[in-house]
Amino acid sequence: MNNKARLDERELVTVAVAEAKQGGAEMAEAFFACSEELVVEVRNGEVETLKMAREEGIGIRVIRRGCLGFAYTSNLNWAVVKKTIEAALANVRTATKDPYNTLPEAPIRYPEPDLEDPALKEISLEEKIEKAREIERAGRAYDPRVQLTERASYEDSHYLVTIANSRGVLASYRGSFCGGYAVLVAGAGGEQQTGFGLQFTRKFAELNPVAIGREAAFKAVRMLGARRLETRRVPVVFDPYVITSFLGIIASALTAEAVQKGRSLFAGKAGKMVAAQGVTIVDDATLAGGLLSAPFDGEGVPCQRTVLIDRGRLQGFLYNTYTAAKDGVASTGNAARDSFKSPPELGCTNFYLVPGEASRDEIIKETERGLYLTEVMGMHTANPISGDFSVGAAGIWIERGELTKPVRGMVIAGNIMELLELIDAVGSDLRFFIGKGAPTVRVASLTLSG
């Protein structure tokens, strides 16, 4: 075995699991991940930064006498991997015993989503650089007040995931995606405002650089002349990007882990109304074209679609193998793992608010006075445990159903549960921002400080 310094990844994970078993593990898992990334940033038509990156590594998880140990390495030399297995076994010693620590069995079959664009590897670097240039050109041409590029970039990524465990799991998948991102600055009368545009997709052919650049330019220009308003309580129309950032707080509270550990706002509310009628929230790792779609989760459990909130009523929670064992239910395939450097955590996949009927313009038109909220700042300070949020706010003031003047430098505050209950309109314009998505929604009333 040891005469070969470097094994292919299926051999590597298989041998690593066997080695861990031999070292005394009752159950063992090896998770290999490899990714290749390209990022091109342009400014004023010139390539400013070109980054090519390759990363790989392996994470070893072992269970012995009910205790869990984990170690990882980015050095795949077999001697180093062996040491890593020893470290995982040694780490078991100080961990607390837990009867629910277990690994999943091999399933009968996995779904086979289409995750890779074979064309992507064939496309030349020059053509990819041109995409970034097109983004910038389209944005700068949109309006003469668009004077600076903070960022105009193209990026793509290829990845390979392989997992094996001592209960028969041995599986792998490949995937790729590409995207463009723009942050542009508009200036007038000594004032500068920024706007961003982005798109990420599985298919290179679907990438629309002109739309990305124009979106950033349009958003920057419309904020020029923004002012602060007096403090008041008003209806707030959330742009899809903003409501998507709020979904992040909800996602963690909808995991079984948060419930079991007494830190979920939704604990004890299964089967009850927790949101307005119009609110349906789904986690779907099988979504066609979804950036977080996959055949299996971070521990080899097949991925699925899970309805969490159905027309306002809480249906259930997201599970991994551990939390499912504890509650005596089946895993929903939500063991999340974004790197070989961590053991699987519980997390969401393609997580979104299901669209309704009304168009964005109809929702705005039906709003007598209020704020069309397009940007929030400090979202990471929102508290997912208490649900309290208080974040910087900017947007456009709505007067008699019309978008009027831009507003910035204010704060919007409330509680996430209150926000869910007060949603009184859900738009039809569902849009994804990588793994999360939402349409335009209106919240009947929130405090806006200024």
């Binding site: 780490n91 903070e150 403090t231 007494g262 300070t381 910087g392 910035r408 430098g409």
Partner: protein, 466 residues
Amino acid sequence: MLSREDLEDILEVAQKGGDFAEIFLEQKEVTRIGCEADKIERVISGHEQGAGIRVLRGEHTAYGHTNELSKDSLIKLARQVGRAARENPVSSVLLEHREPSVSLVVGQRPDEVEIDGKVALVRAANEAARNVDNKLVRQVTVSYGDVIQQVMIASTEGTYVKDERIRSRLAVNVVAAEGDVIQTGFEAAGGTEGLELYQKEAPWELGRRAARRALLMLNARRAPAGRMAVVLAGEAGGTMIHEACGHGLEADLVQKKLSVYAGKKGEQVASELVTVIDDGTLPGKYGSYRFDDEGNPAQRTILIEKGVLCSYMYDRVTANRDGASPTGNGRRESFQNRPIPRMSNTYLAPGDTPPDEIIRETKAGLLVRKMGGGQVNTTNGDFVFEVAEGYLIEDGEVTIPVRGATLTGNGPEVLKQIDLVGRDLGFAIGTCGKDGQGVSVSDAQPTIRIPELIVGGILEKEGDRD
């Protein structure tokens, strides 16, 4: 790791593509321990290694990295990255070893302490937090981490630095609940130190403080909404100064005109009471280092002196562009990233007013005793920061606790307004994010008063106005 001659050979290949080439090699040993629900859930050891090669040609940067540290694979990468930057004539590279001028001494190395000893620290924090109130404290999460990072940095300008950086961190998050109200309390300590850190910052003390804050917030009222005077206590940390002017003084943002402080060197940008310093040499602080990630020595840089803008924070690229010297602020998260200008330990220098007097002189307003995270839009200067522990000030007296508020203001406007600066100084640690790279920093400020900031609280009824 590789020899000096190996590095010279690799750099010579990379240099073909540009005016400047650099290699950054890194090996990192990581320990993480996680405790929740009274259980040691996670004990993680990690080994990471890799190298990043950067080639500059004019304003163009090519960057590549790999996990493989053999000379062959690095020559291959050098060729690839060099090609991305085009062809150039070659000259030979001679590396000269650089000795540190800053000494950061570690008392007790993390790799000389058994895992049991580290687990004991975690347990101590957990138990102390729970013992504050066994009934109301519902959950305690303790996370421990230490990192030993070995780096080697070499460039075609002859820079040759080998260094070892050691960092430790322990954080406690407490959830308290009573009836329908759930609140949290957070405390963290960290430094460029080994386990001696926990002699000054006892884990049980961190646990107790976090639990007490969570309990206090259970009985707090929602913060008011609108404009008011704000006093930031010295112990609150330095998030405000980090956001209101720190980021805007990073030279890359300034040169791209993405900062409200662009073109203002030598101008009065703040009240005369305001002096802001970035100092990477402070012993033990979380944002300290001997050399930055380009091999330049850390230094103390006065950014604003008595309100006048004196200097920006530079890395090599931005310093060259301004004809300035690098200020030792070229930092990167890991070998996977190119260095960019970043803060180290940034603080607003103390003044001479006793902190008590600042509160006494404030008729009505908000006292912030602990700040949380923040964010800034450097292009227009708007920033926010979170209040983790706040109180109302009424007639110069601290009265009831309030919760759940973010404060917002505009950097240049707020710096000009600061009208009282205390003689105390309190540090807090954080991980600062920029361009997708997280680096360890600390920030600090004395007790200060800002006559008017916007407090993002709650109005109870529709149509209510202030």
